[in-house]
């Protein structure tokens, strides 16, 4: 415990001051130990979480083998564990959400910081803050009631009146996820763009550039790491979303018959549905953890990479 003083964290240079009167006492030692315990708790639970999941998930993966990644039918009650529909569904709907939701959100953020009248900015931000806090099930319910019928009409309009298509499917879930992630992506993009120094913009204007040129040749390139982080974050959130997607994707446990308008499923939706039937300790149960492990690896990878980008960008 030394002499009861704070020291030597390079992140906090002010803390290496010593006060001769400060003597270590029992109470101090206890508080200090409690603080360290809080840190240990965070590390411990994270490790426990990863270990638990990895243990069960790997057990499932070993039992089932490679069909977990390549098999195209998911039928746990018959012992068929083809995970491809789940994985494909997750990635397809999340990618759709990025194209339909995250990209417009970034553009809207650019417009708001660069071109919009200053008077509307606060209100705009407030609306998006509340929209991003709306529970995802609420979006899911709205989509189930209003979006799915629209999609059904659209599907029949595109594929023909008696084509075997439904409103539920990848198209509906991609649109839903796009609506869900757009506010969050927009807010993160606004933060990234607000870090562009005013000097840069002024210098660009002084050189005779128009506001459009300043926006897309100065501000956006400066903030691109932050914008990328925002988009990736949107992807991770869309891929991990569960209940809302479960409500509109249809729940068919096979690859979609029709790319856009036919029921299929995602990893997280299937986990929630199957978890209620699978008895703990059975293969049926372990395999769900294997699927979760795939989701976990992907989202941890995405977020850690973007965080590294973000930290480097912040410097």
């Amino acid at each position: 415990m030394g002499d009861g003083v704070v020291l030597a964290d390079s992140a906090h240079p002010a803390s290496d001051r010593r006060h001769p009167a400060a003597r270590p006492r029992v109470a101090e030692a206890v508080v200090r130990a409690l603080l360290v315990a809080c840190g240990l708790f965070v590390v411990g639970t994270t490790a426990a979480m990863l270990l638990f999941l990895a243990r069960t998930g790997l057990r499932g993966a070993v039992e089932v083998g490679t069909q977990l990644l390549t098999g195209d039918t998911w039928k746990p009650e018959a012992g068929v564990y083809g995970g491809l529909p789940l994985i494909a569904g997750t990635f397809a709907s999340a990618s759709g959400a990025v194209v339909l939701g995250a990209v417009p959100a970034v553009l809207a953020a650019v417009w708001l910081t660069e071109f919009s009248p200053a008077s509307i900015r606060r209100g705009y931000r407030r609306v998006m803050e509340i929209a991003s806090a709306i529970p995802s099930v609420v979006y899911g319910w709205l989509a189930l009631v209003y979006l799915v019928p629209v999609m059904e009409t659209l599907a029949h309009a595109i594929r023909g009146a008696d084509a075997p298509v439904t409103g539920e499917g990848l198209a509906a879930s991609a649109v839903l996820l796009a609506i869900m992630v757009a506010p969050t992506v927009l807010l993160l993009s606004l933060d990234a763009l607000s870090r562009v120094p005013a000097d840069l913009r002024d210098a660009s204007s002084a050189l005779g550039a128009s506001t459009w040129q300043t926006a897309f040749r100065v501000s956006v390139p400066f903030a691109w790491r932050g914008l990328l982080v925002a988009v990736f974050f949107g992807f991770a959130r869309a891929a991990g979303e569960t209940m809302a997607v479960q409500m509109v994707i249809g729940g068919a446990r096979r690859l979609p018959r029709d790319l856009l308008f036919s029921p299929t499923t995602t990893i997280s939706a299937q986990i929630v549905m199957d978890m209620q039937e699978a008895r703990p300790g059975t293969t049926q149960n372990d395999v769900l953890f294997s699927m979760a492990l795939i989701l976990l690896v992907v989202s941890v990878a995405v977020v850690l990479v973007t965080r590294m980008l973000g930290r480097r960008g912040a410097r």
Partner: protein, 377 residues
Amino acid sequence: MSDDKQPVHSVRRPGAGMEAALKSALGAGAMVLAVGYAATLVYLVVRGAAKVASFTTYATPTNGIDNEEIMRFAVAASIFGAAAWGLMALVRRVATHRGRWSGSLNRGSRVAVVGVASVCALLARNHLPRFLISLPSETTAGGGVGPEIFNTIYFAVLSTTITLPIGVGAAVYLARFARSARFVGVVRTALDTLASLPSIVYGLFGFLVFVVEMNAGYSLFAGAFVLALLNLPLVVGITEESLRAVPRELDEASLALGATSIQTTLRVTLPYAWPGILSALVLSVGRVFAESAPLIMTAGTTISRSNAYSLDPFRGGETLAVHLWYVNSAGLSPDRADVSAGTAAVLVVLVGLTNVLAARFARFGGAEGTRVRKATQ
């Protein structure tokens, strides 16, 4: 870009018209986005309002569940309290404008708000909108969300009592007491990992630990613990930020007066950073309201009649968000469209309130905060 022979301002740069057109297209798109979300929010509240705000003239019979009377009183008190407070804020604004508002009036108005709310609550507690106080129903029309509202709030309380000490402790450690750079790195990586996990993974973990390994069945405690974990990165992040925003002079003054570093932290740094911490906690409460997947796997999707309003944390129970999902994917009641609309409206109002509160608390913090203003007057 400009032609030498002409004065700069009269030059029309090639492509300017194109840029203007693109700009307005972008603006139109952005406005459509914002108006769309705003309209959705308004629609959600208006659509559910009929369900939520229909007071009855005849008394609703009680179901004979423990604590039901208290629950009714609490719901009534918060409805009338909010109404009275809104009215008072209006009166205050008008009175201040006319220069007729004083400190004693201010205190009096607060007492009046509390008084009016409790009296109205006592009188009207049996005439509340049925939807807000009755039990959900699986197969028949007319189900309510009373227990769900209770569970949602109770979850917020439970998970905050776990998040608050651990989150603030870890943040204080990181911001003020960390010694080993390696351990700090490990903690930060752990937090980053936690922040990146999809919520379903938290649910699986909670299921594995509490339901399978401990064989405790679905319980509110398991759900609250999982939600607390989910919120840790957020709370630690914002708390650490507001701790680092505390002016160095304050800490140094305290240390110079002979206080130990722990005393300084407890009596100077934490109180100063408190509004920031509070806003982090309120944000995390908003996430508790919104989360559903982990709760389905740890706290279940049922409401038991016998202990719907019990404070026992080891019983199972669903929240509003879970109920909204359950009604639509497994419920059989004929009025589920109305029930969903009402549930969504209550949920949106709760989440909106937490957001407004968080913004308010965040404004109190830092060098412009009320605490500092008071101290320096």
